[in-house]
């Protein structure tokens, strides 16, 4: 079975972001970029499926500018066999990303597609679900455990209040939650070998998808500073304030 794994280039999660002075967006110039942490978990899961003999081939795909090939090389160093880069300089929203991925899925015919549950830049948590809808496939979102058996996959999902297990017919879409696995680090020899692995470049036009934005980003601002609070002198005063002033007890 072929496994397709989608990865996204995002700002490194350790970076403290700055909003541009003109409020048009977040300032990404000269900022360290990395693979989205949930995508790392997705790559790790795909590679583990290959190591278990479930997956025969792991294909990594990304959508984004030329520089996003760094993240594809990272995925290749971690164990993916080959990569597909859908190159575009435009801002690609979840819906357009899902349409592009649906075309890649149509071409590659994978048995399983693994994505992160959300990207830490836009925090949308949409692409996997949208891809499932467009490809007409079932979805196992927020996965903390994935077991493939014959033509089915059992996915244990992190839901509010606990865990839920669903069984999906393959092919299926899975999105990863934090608890699914602990991603490995790329080793130097693997990073060198990854440079020789195949990487196909396509354009949205090749796939026949229009990526123009449907949502206008009118403004980006820093969150409101929290109003300076007060220090209370005793537990009694704290309980009184929470009951009568904040009214949260």
């Amino acid at each position: 079975m072929k496994v397709l794994v989608a990865v996204k280039r995002v700002i490194d999660y350790n970076v403290k972001i700055r909003v541009k002075a003109d409020h048009s967006d977040v300032d990404l110039t000269n900022v360290k970029m990395a693979m989205n942490p949930f995508c790392e978990i997705a790559v790790e899961e795909a590679v583990r499926l290959k190591e278990k003999g479930v997956a025969t081939e792991v294909v990594a795909v990304t959508i984004g500018p030329k520089a996003a090939q760094e993240q594809l090389r990272t995925a290749l160093a971690l164990g993916a066999d080959r990569a597909v880069h859908v190159e575009t300089e435009e801002r690609v929203e979840s819906l357009a990303a899902a349409k592009l991925l649906a075309k890649v899925v149509e071409g590659e015919q994978p048995g399983l597609v693994i994505l992160g549950k959300q990207a830490i830049d836009t925090d949308n948590n949409q692409t996997g679900q949208m891809l499932a809808a467009l490809a007409g496939l079932p979805q196992g979102t927020f996965a903390s455990e994935v077991t493939v058996e014959n033509d089915k996959v059992q996915v244990t999902r992190e839901i509010d209040g606990g865990l839920q297990t669903v069984e999906l017919t393959l092919p299926a879409i899975v999105t990863t939650d934090l608890r699914l696995n602990e991603p490995r680090y790329a080793k130097l020899p693997d990073i060198m070998k990854a440079k020789k692995k195949p990487l196909d470049v396509k354009s949205p036009a090749d796939l026949g998808v229009e990526v123009a934005s449907r949502l206008t980003l009118a403004k980006v601002e820093s969150p409101a500073e929290r109003k300076g609070g007060i220090k209370v002198g005793s537990v009694d005063e704290l309980v009184d304030k929470l009951k009568n002033e904040a009214k949260v007890l």
């Binding site: 972001i17 948590n125 809808a133 999902r157 606990g162 839920q164 980006v220 969150p223 609070g229 929470l242």
Partner: protein, 308 residues
């Protein structure tokens, strides 16, 4: 304008989140209908009909919607969405699972986790783990939106909406519910809790986290932890609140023995009310806390528990 709100419910009870989503719908303006989908959801529908501002409750009571699997729920919402300008759900795991399917099938974008309604097309939402707030305007004819429930005050009861049933039954040959394991304790899950109490390195040991139990029980709170407490091995990492852990925005967040590093703040600074208990009065957590109490947590916690 007409708005369809997907009701959130668990164990045959309407979840509190729904009243917050209705509040967001009221801020948009227009007729508000609620969709209750599930199996044996009569009581949920009755409770939904009482919410203030609701015109009609539409009930899809069928085994196909038990456990609210994404595939049949998506098909049901797509079937009904044609009657509405907006479809809203809580940004719960159910809402996040189902709504993007609906948006994609209707060929529209989805706007996730709104904090504020500017007008019927324009909304504010957090990006970069809440470190920036984006104002987005949608040109789509149908707006599909999830709502951060803590950002909207719940509507009251007192309405008397009509209740009608929906006959559409979605076919689903692709997904099957196998089992559900809900947390054994009475404690709510971290991401959805109304109150969260978290411990940090100042707790000193995993054993000392028991000091939080009594308070959590009395407040119906979930227990969280800072990365420092997780890295020190006090508690497992699924309790971690922060940029790489869970992002929470409860009504009340109590930080105990947590200094307040940027990464932790990213996970909880959208909480409505923040309380900090720390012996270091210079700790950065006091800069974001609404109420701070400087002192020894080993004395304060038992006293707090006894006085709640």
């Amino acid at each position: 304008m007409s708005i369809l709100v997907l009701a959130e419910h668990h164990d045959g009870q309407l979840a509190g989140a729904t009243a917050h989503v209705v509040a967001a719908a009221k801020a948009i303006g227009g007729d508000i209908d609620i969709l209750v989908a599930g199996e044996n959801v009569g009581a949920v529908a009755e409770a939904a009909a009482k919410l203030d501002g609701v015109s009609k409750v539409r009930v899809a009571d069928n085994a196909a919607y038990a456990h609210q699997l994404a595939e049949p729920m998506g098909a049901l919402l797509v079937e009904l969405a044609g009657d509405y300008s907006h479809v809203l759900a809580a940004a719960s795991t159910t809402g996040k699972n189902v709504l993007p399917r609906v948006a994609a099938l209707k060929d529209v974008s989805q706007i996730s986790e709104i904090l504020e309604v500017i007008d019927a097309d324009t909304f504010k939402r957090p990006i970069y783990a809440g470190n920036a707030i984006a104002t987005v305007k949608s040109a789509d004819s149908l707006k599909v939106i999830t709502v951060r429930t803590t950002a909207f005050d719940a509507v009251a009861e007192g309405g008397s909406a009509s209740v009608e049933s929906v006959d559409f039954v979605a076919e689903n040959g692709q997904s099957t519910f196998i089992k559900q394991e809900l947390a054994q304790s009475d404690r709510p899950e971290l991401g959805g809790a109304r109150v969260v109490i978290s411990g940090g390195r100042g707790m000193g040991s995993g054993e000392n986290f028991k000091l939080l139990d009594g308070i959590a029980d009395k407040l119906g709170a979930a227990i969280g932890a800072s990365r420092a407490a997780v890295d020190a091995g006090f508690v497992p990492n699924d309790m971690q609140v922060g940029q790489t852990g869970k992002i929470v925005a409860p009504e009340l967040y109590i930080a105990v023995g947590i200094s307040g590093a940027i990464q932790h703040l990213a996970g909880m600074k959208d909480s409505k009310v923040i309380v900090a208990i720390n012996k270091d009065e210079e700790a950065p957590i006091f800069q974001v806390a609404d109420y701070g109490l400087v002192g020894d947590l080993f004395e304060i916690l038992p006293e707090l528990e006894s006085k709640l």
